[in-house]
Subunit: 404 residues, 2 copies
């Protein structure tokens, strides 16, 4: 009798925010980076992708594999990156089935994948890392693949470079690797979330962030035209990777923070040196940078660090123990009606109403931020993908809405 | 009988705007630069320093040398840079007097120097280059020194690095030199103003430019902390110097423009890479950059180029023949009440009311500029210092106000 069951597996996956930035590909098809990078995986209580992978012989073969993202059916035939992930995962499953003929032939069934994320709309937060990590993790679970997260990161990397770092929690390095086939370009956990659990992240969402050059295009233009980029890739990043890994092992926030800020600035410097130049930071971003330097100066020690991806939103890292100085000051500076001071991490700082004395702070930073930020997300270091029992596909294959 | 005459000599001197930027000193006392630079000397009909150098045995010895700048007496004893210039010029005069005892002993008389400039107040335009060039030129004339402008540039350089390039008109290189005593670090004219006379410059003065880190401090922080700066100084600038000199010789505007824009971006990239980072460009500057790229795209060729010194004001180079495309478009974009569309160069473009079709242009650039620029200065390549007969010191030594 034919097997018409619907096989399902579901997972959530986190976003990650790099402290040593990935920018530039040495191989665009395999998504092999020009340099190594390192990120902090953020808690899924604030931001996460939620994905169910299902497959069934009863799914119509003519529809092929399908992916529904936030209730919209995607054209995966038009996405080489998605196809590459599916193809690699299916090949691993086929290997299992070949070795053990008693296994159901899931590799021959169409996939029906459903994904939802809980990111604020249009916040400009890179959701592709969490999305591809969840997709790869959910299918790997569905297929009962024995591969480690590091081994799976090779596959996720082909979906979206930084997705490879979202397959693990805590502090994660993506080793650029040197081999042409990319087999040594994978993510590995440098430290667990619990090793340095009090790392927090305040995300400042810039109000009217207008889209600049997409990062896939922008990074290749930088590689091709910036006279400063080779120095970054060959010399600056390798020494910083080693130094920040030490700082993480030692829980040395001052070093972690300085390297994080300098690498963000260095990355954006190569963008300004790109031809034609690309700008991801704006005056609001610069106001956040000034405020962080002002807070550290007023505190007499380094208590917070900024970093910016390919957009104007700031991510401010700090330690729980410095919440009053950092969160208190940002809370005073931002408008009273700023959204987002809620959620698991915000509850812990609910009673902090004031921070460092504002007269010590740069007036420009205060004005610029107050007018430019309309939403914050307060979160912290978190775990990697988590397998969940509630599926976005019913036992009979219907697509369900997410169980919030 | 004692010589109580008042000896006088007066000059005007121009500003210059670099297209290959000077940033970083290898010797702070001698003002020796880390890399060579190249600038365009701008017409004195728009911007100039006006200086009278006078000396007399009748001036009170106890007051010493004096400098009155824009009617304010300066404390030159507190300015090592000014003292270094005066000392070197006096030594050259003493040499002449020693060789020819019949000469009046001007080197023994106190100097009374009076200077005025016609720069818009608080426009953030570097006036020190014109000021020191005028001071050195006026005293050299007073002392009847035989040294060439290049030889005098060694002295002016000690007052303000970029002043050495204001001793000549047209297109001027400042060779960094390699000798420790700085004797080979001097300016030389690459081409006269008449070689490429139709070069124009539109200066966009940003409304509420707030002062950032002063350039003397900023450049040394860049040298000390930027991981990208050595690449700029050792590799990027030398190849661009050679290329832009060729472009000037060939009157090749497209090459001149691209090198100018890329060097400005490269210079500001090293500032962003400085620790802590320095920002001279703001959102208004970026809007100007976008508009220039948009104009060139709409024109189908490179008709204008931006460059930014250590501040947000934009200088837009273009050729007279492209006035309609460039000036017409900027005029349409800027507010109707923008000040400064006047003066010798502006008169030539009085009848240009429109430029390239605005619908091809980036809306962001248009908005950002309209709100951020309240004054323009329209000028062009010009001559070096000019000796003038009207003095700012009377025959009897009184300080006069400038003859406008």
């Amino acid at each position: 009798m034919a097997d018409t069951a619907v096989y399902r597996s579901s997972t959530t996956a986190p976003v990650n925010i790099a402290v040593i930035k990935y920018w530039g590909k040495r191989d665009a098809t395999l998504n092999l980076p020009t340099n190594s990078s390192l990120s902090v995986t953020l808690s899924q209580s604030s931001l996460r992708a939620y994905t169910t992978a299902s497959c069934s012989a009863s799914y119509p073969a003519e529809a092929g594999d399908t992916l529904t993202l936030n209730t919209q059916l995607q054209n995966i035939q038009g996405s080489k990156r998605t196809l590459a992930c599916l193809s690699d995962l299916r090949a691993l499953r086929r290997g299992l089935e070949d070795a053990n003929p008693s296994l159901p032939k899931l590799s021959t069934f169409p996939l029906r994948i459903v994904s939802e994320n809980n990111f604020p709309t249009a916040a400009g937060l890179a959701s592709s890392a969490a999305g591809f990590a969840a997709l790869v993790r959910a299918i790997a679970d569905l297929y009962e693949l024995p591969q480690s997260p590091s081994e799976l990161s090779r596959i996720a990397r082909q979906g979206s470079g930084s997705a490879c770092r979202s397959l693990m929690g805590g502090y994660v390095a993506w080793r650029s690797g040197a081999l042409e086939d990319g087999s040594d370009s994978l993510a590995e956990q440098v430290a667990t979330a619990s090793h340095w659990a009090d790392m927090r992240a305040l995300i400042l969402v810039v109000s009217d962030a207008k889209k600049d050059v997409p990062s896939t295009e922008g990074m290749q233009t930088t590689v091709a035209t910036s006279s400063l980029f080779p120095t970054r890739a060959e010399f600056v990043v390798p020494s910083r990777m080693a130094a920040i890994e030490r700082a993480i092992q030692d829980r040395d926030f001052a070093s972690f923070a300085e390297i994080t800020m300098r690498d963000s600035n260095n990355f954006h410097a190569t963008n300004l040196d790109t031809w034609p130049p690309t700008f991801y930071l704006n005056d609001v971003s610069r106001a956040a940078i000034r405020l962080v330097h002002d807070i550290n100066r007023a505190a007499g020690e380094t208590v917070c660090a900024y970093t910016f991806d390919a957009g104007p939103n700031a991510v401010i890292y700090y330690l729980e123990k410095d919440s009053q100085k950092v969160i208190g000051t940002f809370r005073e500076v931002l408008r009273a009606d700023t959204e987002g001071w809620e959620g698991e991490y915000a509850d812990k700082v609910r009673d902090i109403k004031s921070g460092l004395p504002l007269e010590q702070l740069d007036g420009r930073a205060v004005e610029g931020l107050r007018d430019g930020i309309n939403r914050v997300i307060l979160t912290g270091v978190g775990e990697g993908p988590v397998k969940v029992d509630a599926h976005l596909v019913s036992e009979t294959g219907e697509i369900l809405t997410v169980a919030k």
